[in-house]
């Protein structure tokens, strides 16, 4: 008995000692982080900080109205409602998370892998490549101006960024993480815990990071990616010298009722945020992507995809949901090659009524491309962090 209790006692005190040592070590570790990354206290460009420390979007389109506040119309029309109101700290924390491969299961893939700021926040691939070189089914859409979008994913199956990001984070062929592992890896990084406490002031410094805080921060960063100061915008606000004769001709073709581009790619965002079945072809050998039919369980939406915004479109080749077209020229040409010309013979899609036979000439197609290139503006491009709390290299 005595022996046993002695063993027990020494064992207990041993555990105690180890615990104290661990405590001291961990204290040491946190002390070594005196140069912890400090989150920005100022809003990114395009946002003004209000007295509640929220970043509120401010841009020249706020000079205008739009019909039914829908954010569709002509040149001087206000934008759709934006998702804003995040704090500068949340936005900046989201920036670190966005570029940090620690968010993926094996620390190799970050959000920026497929949404690379150097590639228009897309990846330049027909369909994206995720964890372990696995090919996904669709192309990565740009994140520029994503704060204005009400439908996310090509098939519109998510309505918030928080909801959206959980799919790539936890999909086996994308970032291949699990909620549990994500929390474990972030909580193990002291610096992130400090940063999260800074971004969420109601949180105690050693309280564990929670999933919704990760989602909010990444949403905050994504919502800060604003591109509204292109040559086209200069024209729209009244400086008609901003576009040359070819570009203006392209703009008039774009909005005419022959080409009808603006009917769905409606300014000022260059999307009306609706679904459209346009019958664009899949890359060779791939079956037809049923698109919105699947999440909405509606056969009339077979082959339907969300109309994408065309802002910064020149930066995000290849085009269409699975990257069939390498250039803008090929893409615009698709629309004049005949209604439903690329639909597989055994399919009976309800092609959108604006897809018709506009008989655009080569000259007109060239002008359309000229115009599309005027929608480029990356002046508010965010900085890629030089160092990440995970110690990993910022990956794009």
């Amino acid at each position: 008995m005595k022996r046993k209790s002695l063993v027990l006692k020494s064992g207990l005190s041993g555990v105690f000692l180890i615990a104290i040592m661990l405590f001291l070590i961990s204290k040491d570790v946190s002390q070594s982080y005196v140069t912890v990354l400090k989150l920005k206290t100022q809003c990114p460009p395009g946002f003004k900080k209000n007295s509640s420390n929220q970043c509120i979007a401010v841009n020249l389109y706020q000079q205008y109205d739009s019909p039914h506040d829908n954010g569709v119309g002509g040149l001087q029309t206000s934008l759709p409602e934006i998702r804003d109101g995040f704090s500068p700290q949340q936005i900046d924390l989201g920036r670190y998370l966005f570029f940090d491969p620690v968010l993926s299961g094996d620390g190799t893939v970050s959000c920026a892998t497929c949404h690379d700021p150097k590639k228009g926040f897309a990846d330049g691939l027909p369909t994206s490549i995720g964890h372990n070189g696995q090919k996904t089914k669709r192309g990565a859409p740009t994140l520029w101006n994503v704060a204005y979008l009400k439908k996310l994913f090509w098939d519109g199956r998510a309505t918030t960024l928080e909801q959206q990001m959980q799919e790539p984070l936890f999909a086996a062929e994308e970032m291949n993480n699990t909620p549990k592992h994500l929390l474990e890896s972030l909580n193990a990084i002291e610096e992130y815990r400090v940063m999260f406490a800074e971004a969420y002031p109601n949180k105690k410094i050693h309280e564990a990071i929670e999933l919704h805080e990760i989602y909010t921060a990444i949403s905050a960063f994504q919502s800060s990616l604003i591109s509204l100061n292109s040559k086209y915008d200069h024209y729209a606000h009244g400086y008609h010298e901003a576009l040359n004769a070819n570009e203006i001709e392209g703009m008039n073709i774009f909005r005419s009722f022959v080409a009808r581009c603006a009917e769905c790619h409606t300014p000022p965002l260059f999307t009306n945020q609706q679904f459209a079945v346009i019958g664009s072809p899949e890359p060779n050998g791939l079956p037809l992507d049923p698109g919105a039919q699947v999440p909405f369980k509606d056969t009339t939406l077979r082959g339907a995809f969300k109309v994408p915004s065309l802002r910064n479109i020149a930066k995000t080749a290849p085009y269409m949901h699975s990257g069939k077209f390498k250039t803008l020229r090929e893409t615009v040409e698709f629309y004049t090659q005949g209604r439903g010309h690329a639909v597989p013979k055994d399919e009976n899609l309800i092609i959108h009524w604006h897809i018709w036979e506009p008989e655009l000439s080569n000259y007109e197609l060239d002008r359309l491309v000229d115009f599309l290139k005027t929608l480029t503006d990356e002046t508010f491009i965010p900085q890629i962090p030089e160092r990440l709390p995970s110690g990993l290299q910022p990956s794009t």
Partner: protein
């Protein structure tokens, strides 16, 4: 040979005679005929005649365009408030108007119209995005897209135009509020001759539309009065639609009043896939999913399929579903109308349905699918599908003189300080921040340099000079509006430091 000279000589003598006679005997003074006592004619300004109900004013300069000139050149030189007068001649161009308050007025002389001729090569005759656009007295022929198309632009007036075969639409305002479309004659259009799309508060009055697929179409629009139009020999006459899949989802409060909707029996030549391609030949009035449509005092005769068809979306439009588009035509009201001689040659689905009723003739009023309505004097008409409709709760709409707004839609008021803020955060903040260096110098350094001198900032914006070796050269921001430049300069000078001024992380 001789006889020809004789003939010419006689002709010349005759011409001289006419000329001499005109000069010597004609009374050159113009006279007005006095009004007989007791007669009270309407005086200009004392009535609600829409010809003078025009609240836009164009009191800028007058720019004249004569044959051989370019209307677009005139638009380029025009400022808001200017009137562009176009003289007879042929103008083959696409005129686009991205400015507010511009009036384009054709001058018809001796029956010669200023004519925009697209030669089947040019897309659109007029394309506008500005507010307060007036387009009147033009003949527009042979375009591929539209005669007149608006994309946004409130307070528009489109009148007295003569439009033939301009492609998909004759007159097509889209995303506009408060507009007037009147006294236009539009024909040979492959979709709707007059198409009001995603608009509000539009009057469509006194137009003639014919030989087109659709006469007048009100689509995803609200508060529209369609009155006194002569709509004949189209595939379908008057249409009130909800089309699913558009960003603005509803159609309601539409009055079809005092129109002639006659003999709309032209075979459908709409483009495959277009909404109107599904309209059965011989349709007088078609209400699809639109709510609160009132039919009053129309003469609806000789339409070979039906006088009036009322359908829900599920029946009427085989399109991709839109859960946000409500598909039932609710609360249709049919007041007094004249309808006879409709349904003489039914087609398609209706023919099959009528056969089940042991009828070969189509009805005056045909309702199919879901929806609701009321009707005054139901027994007057031959009807199908409205047995459950009760009597209308109103007898007429005479108190509704117009569905346009009493005043023009105001242009959003933005103060100088607001404009300065929008410009600073929307443009300048890409490179400048208060308290730290982004790309250009911090804002407080700009303040220090230009203290009390906003014009100094404006000059620099227009023509930057690289003053600092350690900073990149600023690109000119001369594209900004003059008002925005001075507003942002003043805004910058008035800015106060943020409570937190350091942010040194990479």
């Amino acid at each position: 040979m001789k006889t020809i000279f004789k003939f010419l000589g006689a002709f010349a003598l005759l011409a001289i005679g006419i000329l001499v006679g005109k000069n010597y005997f004609a009374d050159n003074s113009e006279a007005t005929v006095p009004i007989p006592p007791g007669m009270t004619y309407r005086n200009v300004g004392s009535t609600n005649d829409t010809l003078i109900a025009q609240s836009n004013s164009y009191n800028g300069k007058i720019i004249e365009v004569k044959s051989g000139g370019s209307i677009q050149e005139a638009v380029k030189n025009a400022n808001p408030g200017d009137l562009i007068r176009v003289y007879p001649g042929t103008y083959s161009e696409n005129v686009y108007i991205d400015k507010d308050n511009i009036a384009l007025q054709g001058i018809v002389i001796d029956g010669e119209w200023p004519t925009l001729d697209g030669k089947k090569k040019i897309n659109d005759a007029f394309l506008y995005s500005g507010n307060g656009i007036l387009i009147e007295n033009f003949k527009i022929i042979d375009y591929k897209g539209n005669g007149i198309m608006g994309q946004a632009g409130n307070n528009f007036v489109i009148r007295n135009n003569w439009i033939i075969d301009t492609g998909v639409y004759g007159i097509f305002p889209q995303f506009g509020k408060n507009g007037l479309i009147e006294h236009n004659v539009v024909s040979e259009i492959a979709d709707a001759a007059i198409y009001v799309g995603m608009c509000d508060n539009v009057d469509v009055l006194h137009n003639e539309t014919f030989n087109s697929v659709a006469g007048i179409e009100i689509e995803n629009s609200r508060h529209c009065l369609v009155e006194n139009n002569y709509v004949h020999d189209n595939t379908g006459g008057l249409l009130a639609f909800v089309t699913p899949g558009l960003p603005i989802k509803t159609t309601f409060d539409v009055i079809f009043r005092n129109n002639f909707v006659v003999n709309n029996n032209t075979p459908n030549f709409g483009a495959p896939g277009s909404t109107v391609a599904g309209i059965p030949t011989g349709t007088g009035v078609l209400i699809m999913a639109a709510d609160d449509v009132i039919l009053e005092n129309n003469i609806i005769t000789g339409n070979n399929n039906t006088g009036v068809t009322i359908v829900d979306l599920a029946t009427g439009a085989p399109k991709a579903n839109d859960p946000n588009s409500e598909g039932n035509p609710d609360r249709t009201i049919i007041l007094d109308n004249i309808m006879f001689d409709n349904g003489n040659e039914t087609t398609g689905e209706l023919k099959a349905i009528m056969l089940t009723q042991l009828e070969t003739k189509g009805p005056d009023i045909f309702a199919y699918g879901n929806g609701s309505g009321t009707i005054r004097d139901k027994n007057k008409y031959r009807t199908f599908g409205i047995d459950h409709w009760g009597p209308a709760q109103i007898t007429d709409t005479k108190d509704v003189r117009t569905l346009m707004l009493p005043e023009p839609v105001p242009i959003k008021a933005v103060s100088k300080a607001e404009l300065g803020e929008l410009t600073y955060y929307g443009v300048c903040a890409g490179c400048h921040a208060f308290g730290n260096r982004l790309i250009g110098p911090p804002t407080e350094i700009i303040q220090a340099i230009h203290n009390g001198n906003p014009q100094g900032i404006v000059n620099y914006i227009n023509n930057p000079k690289n003053l600092r070796e350690d900073y990149p050269e600023m690109p000119p921001q001369d594209y900004l509006d003059d008002a925005a430049k001075i507003a942002v300069a003043e805004y910058i000078l008035a800015m106060k430091p943020d409570e937190v001024t350091t942010s040194l992380n990479p």
